[in-house]
């Protein structure tokens, strides 16, 4: 069976998709009174590009589908939003986000059809991605594996174990996106555990590294859909936590904080005006 791209959208369409996803993230996090909004808004452009233009048959049961692991699981609302847009989640299920008995929690679980791996404990997703990429290559599949990690997640030692493994075994069917928003739960990444120069670290570990503006849909698309080289690829996506909502942008408290009525109205107004 041929494996098709999810969609061949024009850049403009990807922009519309991302705008829709942002609105859904704000609406649903407010309705469910759940935080982690900043992270979802920071990765939503990368997720729109991946699911809208890069991944082949994502979220299906096709054995040769491209896999997607949201290793920074706390941004799951962005993933649920793109799954809703793809028709993999109906609106009612989506609206059940974080309700008792729902399969849509703060972090994604494989019990929800379309999710390739359960995540939530930082630093573990890339190891799963290595296993998948190795196994898929071994059985002759053309499927590719994409893992989205956070910048603070690069604090975890296990991540670097996986980075070394992927380079050692030339897992060229593996791509990592680092959501480089510069903020972690309690402050700025530079002040807590400075990972810079992060690109040089990945290159030194044997990866092909590209650095892009993580909200530039065109650059993201070309970085993520470029033909595989001779080593695994990492795309450092420089992003802004809470991107698209002025009072959230670059403010670490929006890692956790939920919206109140007044801020919700402001956020929606800003997103509609954009």
């Amino acid at each position: 069976m041929n494996v098709q791209h999810g969609l061949n959208d024009s850049r403009e369409d990807l922009g519309k998709i991302a705008a829709t996803l942002r609105r859904w993230i704000i609406e649903q996090s407010f309705a469910s009174k759940v935080g982690h909004i900043g992270a979802a808004l920071s990765v939503v452009d990368a997720i729109a590009v991946l699911w809208g233009a890069v991944l082949r048959q994502p979220g299906t049961k096709h054995p040769d589908r491209d896999r997607f692991i949201l290793s920074k699981g706390h941004a799951a609302l962005a993933l649920y939003s793109v799954m809703r847009w793809k028709g993999l989640l109906d609106e009612e299920t989506f609206r059940g986000y974080c309700q008792d008995g729902s399969r849509l929690g703060v972090h994604p679980e494989v019990s929800l059809p379309g999710i390739d791996a359960s995540t939530g404990s930082l630093g573990q997703g890339l190891s799963l991605g290595c296993g998948m990429a190795w196994g898929l290559r071994l059985r002759g599949s053309s499927a590719r594996v994409y893992v989205l990690v956070s910048d603070a997640e690069c604090n975890e030692g296990q991540l670097w174990e996986a980075v070394m493994f992927a380079a050692q075994h030339r897992l060229t069917n593996l791509t990592v996106v680092v959501d480089l928003n510069g903020l972690q739960a309690l402050g700025s990444t530079g002040a807590i555990l400075d990972m810079e120069p992060l690109g040089e670290k990945w290159r030194a570990f044997g990866w092909e590294c590209r650095e892009v503006d993580g909200h530039d849909l065109q650059r993201l698309t070309s970085a993520l859909s470029a033909a595989a080289g001779d080593r695994p690829r990492v795309v450092l996506a420089r992003t802004i936590l809470g991107k698209g909502v002025s009072f959230m942008e670059g403010r670490f408290e929006w890692h956790y904080r939920p919206l109140d009525d007044a801020l919700y109205a402001t956020a929606l107004r800003e997103l509609k005006a954009a």
Binding site: A117, M132, W134, L138, F165
Partner: protein
Amino acid sequence: MRTTLIETLVDLARVDERIMLLTADLGWNVVEPFLQAYPDRFVNVGVAEQNMLGIATGLALVGYVPYVYSIATFSSMRCYEQIRNGPVLHRLPVRIIGIGGGYAYGHAGPTHHALEDLALARTQPGLSVVVPADREQLRSVLLALRDLVGPAYLRVAKSSVPAVAGLHGRFAWETPELVRPGRDLLLLCTGEMAHPTLQAADMLFSEGLAPAVAVLAHLGFRPGRALTSLLSRFETVVAVEEAFVTGGLGSLAAETIAEGGLRSRLMRCGVAAGLAEHSGSTEYLRSRSGLTAAGLARRISEAFQRKRMAA
């Protein structure tokens, strides 16, 4: 036992192409036959147990059955969260091999003494914990694993272990195997403790006691029916394991007695003190914890004399 493990895996992997073997840089002079037979299905991930468990999870997510190999301390504790969030949470057929539980790596010191691996593994309801008592039982366990959908933790003896008389390789899930009949008390043992326990039974027999001996290889998350039924037949049960006395076989026996409303009195033989503070051989460290045939026989005999005096 390690050689039997690899030989059996080589056989199984011939018909089951999903089987893979991962090691975290351990198993010199042990794992090579698998590497030679299936170079594509073997990898040394380096000294990186957490990553190894993650890789195994990823492999299982795309259809493989990975065996991961390390010393019991490292494959159970170093990557415990990865076991839980990986094969347990995803319900995948990853087989975690812990080589040399208890004091098998005696002189290597406490960092290498796996005394809590059974307790840690047993607390995960989705993880099957198995401690084969000899080579034949290990083979039976590996055959039984072919049909197990979820993950398993296998504690496998480092060195060769004498065949357990009367066991004949029998293994069934949650089932204690009676290897010596007796009426006065039950010695319930697991893994490498089967042999000294049987020897202790001989010593007790010469003192006029008639102990039964049963080998339990699968330590279930909850008491099983077969174990409840067996324990209900004895006033005195002695659990023998090479591990801390909390969380493993002794705890399972206690839970079985308590929840089953049984009248049995329980004695737990295992490691009751803390981590070793002195260097020593396996035999030395076992004897300090009373985990030799003579040590077991002495402790059980004394307990029985006290019981008789009290009666």
